[in-house]
Amino acid sequence: MSQGLKVRIWRGSGDDGRFVEYEVPRQDSQTVLDVVTHVQRVLDPTLAYRFACRVGMCGSCAMTVNGQARWTCRTHVARVVGAGGLLEIAPLANLPVVKDLATDMSAFFDKWARARGRFQGTQTRRDDFARVSPDTPQRRAANAGIECIGCGVCYGSCDVVQWRPDFLGPAALNRAWTLVNDVRDTERTERLRAVAGDAGCHSCHTQGTCTERCPKGIAPTIAIAGLKRTVARAAVKGEL
């Protein structure tokens, strides 16, 4: 390919920073992660960024490409490049920037814990396996959301996270929904309390950007809708 790429990459930490432009040679089957890697290895070794598997399994390489959160290892340059070979790469939104393209994801995972996004059961290894039919509506609802790997793309795409700093966010709420539907779990009431209210599911306005962007095809919007119903029903019945 003769035409090069004009790549603007966010450089800085915290709230200070600016876009710096780099010229990157264009190649066939090039991913955005390839571009970032080229910049760091050849042009500017001070560039900070995260990646791990580079084959679309771990979610570490999530960044904002031309304004949309994506996995950079699974984003072909050819699909997103703008006119004149323009590409803009920034860190994920809604998270503090550690340096350049690397964000501090503590808040993301803290909210996961606050939503009680962990399984709590009563069986031990000495008990027999739990028998859970895959065909029940509950198990189907749980299965629709359990593939989440916590990459943060949904969280970085959500306006409500930006508008309400306490909002638990799509990933944490999606995880909570999978556990609410897990018949083996024993923390149902606790969890419903944790995800209720304005910091929880009830602030979701069904914008659906999370569902649009999720690289695993999960629909947190629908999971959150399920939580809204379930929590409201429990609240009205006085079970919370």
């Binding site: 803290d110 606050r114 309400r164 606790e190 309390r193 944790a194 009830h202 306005h205 409201a232 919370l240």
Partner: protein, 131 residues
């Protein structure tokens, strides 16, 4: 390691009670939305029919004065609005105008009062037998 599970929340925790109140607000906004959906469909039909050939006070009042069914329908309509509108506006105030939770709550109450007073006054105004 940060992110350890929070301690068990009990129903009497102020945080839990606030969350439950917000859950109920969401629920009432949806219930009032369902009521409004029915009212609005009817209201649109009435309006499209009534507005043909122009609108006059005599025409409107001729239909509504002394009509208990009309009055009851529009009273329910007003009540549903008084529930539905403030909750939506409070969300806008918090999220787009960056008001504090307290300010948004006062705003919601003010809107509720305004809609109830003006709305029920309007219902009475068109129902009450004329001078």
């Amino acid at each position: 390691m940060s992110g350890a599970a929070p301690p068990h929340a009990v129903a009497s925790d102020p945080g839990v009670r606030e969350a439950v109140a917000q859950a109920k607000a969401w629920y009432w906004q949806r219930i009032s939305a369902m009521v409004l959906a029915a009212c609005v469909v009817l209201h649109l039909c009435i309006m499209i029919w009534a507005v043909r050939g122009g609108l006059s006070a005599a025409e409107i009042l001729g239909r509504t004065q002394g009509n208990v069914l009309f009055a009851a329908f529009y009273a329910v309509f007003v009540l549903a609005c008084a529930v539905h509108v403030p909750i939506g506006l409070a969300a806008i105030a918090r999220e787009w105008w960056r008001w504090s939770p307290a300010a948004a709550q006062w705003f919601a109450r003010a809107v509720t009062a305004t809609l109830l007073v003006l709305g029920l006054r309007a219902v009475w105004g068109v129902y009450a037998p004329g001078a």
